[in-house]
């Protein structure tokens, strides 16, 4: 019965989408902006675990992070044991790594930032939010679809010419309710080949917002491989002034 209803809905949307798209009272850019703001807030503190799952092995890393907009972030590694206590600071385009075991502050060059952790499908660019899903793309609503239990806008994002973005195209499915949840995304390279997809699951209210506490990132055409993010705790709009993101704070934070 439910399936039938979905088919009807999809047909319905397919028929009327041409008309309706022009009549949305919200633009694609505004939807992406709200979705981005929702997961990020003006500032946020997050505890999470990332698992890299491969057919024959699994590794995980856990961290706490503090963020303020696109320009400032600090990350404290809580596991695995050998990396515990390391801190990363990002201020605009610069990044440092504090290694307490040897008491050294290392300035990280740009070429080192593009590396994923342990072959993770999540790159440093994802973690550091080098590019903005709002400012670096042109957005268009290309459909309305049901994904999992959500009614969503399907939004096509084409990178602006001057933007330093590694993708050729992104699709995002964003819930139509007031929560603006990024339910699903697909990332394509410049040859229009699907590179990876991500899916959001296990929604919980955290700090007043509905948050996916499990996000799976699945590389295309690679059986048995995925990277899973578990969001353990998230708080928004906490007091994190720019001065919080300092080398002095790096040495104290835990």
């Amino acid at each position: 019965m439910k399936i039938n209803l979905n088919v009807v809905l999809i047909l319905f949307f397919a028929l009327i989408s041409g008309n309706i798209l022009a009549q949305y009272d919200i633009t694609a850019e505004e939807i992406i902006k709200r979705a981005d703001e929702k997961m990020r807030g003006k500032t946020n503190t997050t505890s999470m675990e990332m698992q890299i799952i491969r057919p024959t092995w699994k590794r995980s890393v856990s961290m706490k992070s503090w963020g303020r907009g696109m320009d400032y972030s600090m990350t404290y590694i809580t596991a695995p044991a050998k990396d515990k206590g390391q801190v990363f600071l990002k201020r605009k385009t610069e990044m440092w790594n504090w290694m307490p075991s040897i008491g050294r502050m290392i300035k990280i060059p740009a070429s080192m930032m593009s590396q994923g952790w342990m072959g993770s499908d999540y790159t440093n660019d994802d973690i550091l939010k080098e590019s903005s899903i709002v400012h670096d793309y042109d957005h268009k609503i290309v459909g309305v679809e049901k994904v999992e239990s959500f009614d969503t806008y399907k939004i096509e994002m084409i990178p602006k010419e001057e933007a330093a973005v590694i993708w050729g195209k992104i699709y995002k499915w964003i819930s139509k309710d007031d929560e603006y949840i990024q339910v699903k995304s697909e990332y394509y390279d410049e040859d229009d080949e699907l590179v990876k997809s991500d899916f959001a699951y296990d929604f919980k209210k955290m700090d007043g917002r509905l948050i996916p506490t499990r996000i799976e990132i699945i590389p295309a055409d690679e059986e048995g491989k995925k990277t899973v993010l578990f969001i353990q705790d998230i708080k928004f709009d906490v007091d994190l002034p720019e001065s919080f993101f300092s080398q002095q704070k790096m040495k104290k934070i835990r």
Partner: protein
């Protein structure tokens, strides 16, 4: 001896007292390593080391943090029997306080422990004071560090990841988010004081530092260093100038300097290059291989000769397997070093590594005309469990 036993007891008391609270962090590892070494064309020496480390941080309150690092090693093998005074070498402590002790010195094995961190840190506002045995790290480059006046380490001593500490008072004042002024003063095992002022700031994508002071009461030092980038790769350098205090009017100062560049490609290939100019170096490898391996390191003795070049390439064969090849060349005395490392991540807490070292140089003789060892190779197999 008694004092050190007290310190150890206090360490474990602290561990249990604060165990129930969440204002502490204990971490460390146990490593088992087998080394197979040959010198010249001699036979193979085998050494087994069991190496354990505890690092304990106690966050007493908002302002005070107490830190202890305890390093324990049991060394067994041919070197213990063959090298005279090996336990003295392994158990030496270059700090003012002797916090190292050899608790077992048998024919075939040695047990040695050292507190290489033991400090109390006080911070309030932009001000931070650290008192005790600590690592004051002013280095910007990666193989040799002319700016690192307080605790020099040897590139070849790869198994001592944390590097030594020094007995010091460190005052730091943070001017901004990425700038500070620092005054550090240490005293070594010869009762000699090193004291220097450092100013570090960030501009146009570069971290830049200047320093000046007195080194072991023998030299005035002035220097500087930077870390920045060129074409996305890391570009850094250091230089320190030494002027003897006794002959202040002479124009006989000495310079040590390094230059470093590294680049990481998108396929994970990481290349590093570093070059050293060491004004204190000799014109040849006069001490032979022993001088390289057992070198009495100081910022004035970073390498036996004047010039050295370093290059390395690291590559992830798979996400779990990392291969690195490192090489060094010293034109004076034709010093050649080659060191491959293969590291395999067995689990989130276990790592297996195989490390090779090969050294060679021109033939050298001691004062009496006896040839000194001038080549050697070693293979290390190491299993590490971190907690």
């Amino acid at each position: 001896m008694l004092n050190r036993i007290y310190i150890t007891i206090i360490f474990f008391l602290f561990s249990t007292v604060i165990y129930a609270q969440d204002n502490w962090m204990l971490k460390g590892y146990v490593k088992g390593m087998t080394a197979m070494q040959t010198i010249d064309d001699g036979g193979m020496a085998i050494e087994n080391t069991l190496h354990n480390r505890f690092d304990l941080n106690w966050y007493i309150n908002e302002n005070f943090t107490f830190t202890v690092g305890l390093r324990n090693r049991i060394i067994a093998g041919n070197n213990v029997a063959l090298i005279p005074n090996y336990s003295d070498y392994v158990g030496r402590d270059v700090g003012y306080f002797n916090l190292s002790w050899v608790w077992a010195d048998e024919n075939s094995w040695i047990g040695v422990s050292q507190l290489d961190r033991l400090m109390i840190d006080y911070s309030v506002g932009n001000f931070q004071v650290t008192l005790g045995r600590q690592r004051i790290n002013w280095g910007q480059t990666f193989v040799w560090n002319p700016n690192d006046l307080f605790n020099t380490y040897s590139y070849f001593d790869f198994d001592y990841e944390e590097k030594p500490g020094s007995d010091a008072v460190r005052l730091q004042y943070y001017i901004g988010e990425s700038s500070k002024i620092e005054l550090s003063t240490s005293i070594n095992s010869d009762d000699k004081i090193t004291s220097a002022l450092l100013y570090r700031f960030n501009t146009h994508g570069y971290d830049i530092q200047f320093l000046g002071g007195v080194f072991t009461e023998s030299d005035y030092v002035i220097g500087g260093g930077w870390s920045g980038s060129i074409a996305g790769g890391g570009f850094s350098g250091e230089m320190t100038y030494y002027h003897p205090i006794e002959n202040i009017s002479d124009e006989n100062g000495t310079i040590t300097a390094t230059l470093h560049y590294d680049y990481t490609f998108s396929n994970s290939l990481n290349l590093q290059f570093e070059t050293l100019y060491n004004g204190f170096g000799a014109d040849d490898m006069e001490g032979g291989l022993g001088e390289v391996i057992f070198m009495d390191l100081s910022p004035k003795n970073l390498f036996p000769t004047k010039v050295a070049l370093f290059g390395s390439g690291g590559y992830q064969i798979s996400p779990l397997i990392n291969l690195m090849l490192a090489g060094m060349y010293g034109p004076e005395g034709n010093f050649v070093y080659f060191g491959p490392t293969l590291a395999y991540s067995m689990s989130d807490t276990m790592e297996l590594a195989v490390i090779g070292q090969y050294y060679s140089m021109d033939k050298v003789e001691d004062n009496e005309g006896n040839p000194l060892p001038n080549s050697g190779s070693a293979l290390f197999v190491r299993l590490k469990w971190a907690f």
